[in-house]
């Protein structure tokens, strides 16, 4: 991978009048934006034929900073909007930025059915384990025993695993990384952009203001270190499973990478058969 200077990314892809970003000090969402833009630059994708769609939440601020077409839609309905965009004009490349609440809770149903239909979208879900923008309420991905403003004595609900959910329903590309793995993130986003069909990349991101402060996890640095320590690559995990060992670490890596016919191709075939 060749290194691209930040100045090029800023010049080419960002709205300079919107900078600096409103993200809190140490937030990982800026990093995810950086990774995505680098992946797009590496693949030579025409930014004028790319649409960025987002819902509501911290992560959904991203399309506002990118100098391209974007939709800042209703809460949880980002994937529904993106489906409409893709079906109306199949030539466009549609990238969806959603948070964990946007994708897993409020927009959970849209997420399931977009995967079921296998629409050609790239969904980048930024998972910070909490509803950061509204003050730190419990989210569906909040781990057990974590403290939030609505669960001050610890969370008792089991969290959902978005990547595993996508894998089970049959998404052709599913990967999960953290912001502490920049190179892997970029290569995964590249693969996801090239994949024909629903591709899902989940990126665990630190939220020092809400999640870190309430759970006494320290600064972003401590949180990124914690990400590195508390995650295990899927290849290592499979080896461990074969040896009969188990671990309670979070599994990261590429979970699914298969070919599957997407909705637009199927629709075209169906339509031409009718004629």
């Amino acid at each position: 991978m060749s290194f691209i200077s930040n100045s090029l990314i800023i010049e080419k892809y960002l709205r300079k009048d919107m900078l600096p970003t409103i993200f809190c000090t140490g937030c990982g969402i800026g990093s995810v934006m950086n990774f995505t833009l680098r992946a797009i630059h590496d693949l030579n994708i025409d930014i004028n034929k790319t649409v960025f769609v987002s819902g509501i939440g911290c992560s959904s601020r991203i399309p506002g900073y990118i100098y391209s077409d974007g939709l800042h839609s209703l809460h949880g309905r980002a994937i529904a909007y993106a489906t409409g965009v893709k079906l109306a004009n199949p030539e466009l490349k549609v990238v969806v930025f959603t948070g964990d609440g946007d994708c897993g809770a409020i927009g959970g149903n849209h997420f399931l059915h977009a995967i079921r239909r296998n629409i050609d979208l790239t969904v980048i879900s930024i998972n910070n384990f909490i509803y950061g923008m509204t003050g730190g309420q419990v989210a569906p991905t909040t781990p057990l025993k974590s403290k939030t403003t609505t669960t001050p004595y610890g969370n008792i609900e089991y969290p959902i695993d978005l990547s595993m959910m996508a894998k089970v329903i049959g998404a052709p590309y599913v990967a999960r990384w953290t912001t502490a793995h920049p190179i892997q993130c970029i290569s995964s986003i590249k693969k996801a952009l090239q994949k024909k069909g629903f591709s899902f990349v989940e990126i665990l991101s630190p939220c020092p203001t809400s999640y870190g402060r309430l759970n006494k996890m320290g600064t972003t640095l401590d949180m990124t270190k914690h990400f590195k320590e508390s995650t295990i690559n899927i290849k290592l995990y499979e080896k461990m499973l074969a040896e009969g060992k188990t671990t309670d670490k979070m599994v990261i890596g590429e979970f699914v990478d298969i070919e599957k016919e997407d909705f637009n191709t199927k629709y075209k075939k169906f339509y031409s058969d009718l004629k």
């Binding site: 290194f3 200077s5 930040n6 970003t21 993200f23 000090t25 990982g28 920049p182 640095l221």
Partner: protein
């Protein structure tokens, strides 16, 4: 982030408080830089640009 992740420890946390109330990193040993661009990649705010003197 860049203070921790820089392999050659070019950055040092500055002692002055910035307008936003944080201690921004400061380039203290620019001669140590090997131009690996890791700090640009890790910085969440697009704040760092590594320049090559030979380019100019």
């Amino acid at each position: 982030m860049c203070v921790e992740y820089c392999p050659k420890k070019v950055y040092v946390k500055s002692e002055k408080l910035s307008k936003k109330g944080v201690f921004p990193p400061e380039v203290k040993f620019p001669e140590n830089c090997i131009k690996c661009h890791l700090c640009e990649l890790m910085c969440p705010d697009f704040a760092i640009i590594v320049e090559d003197k030979n380019d100019k």
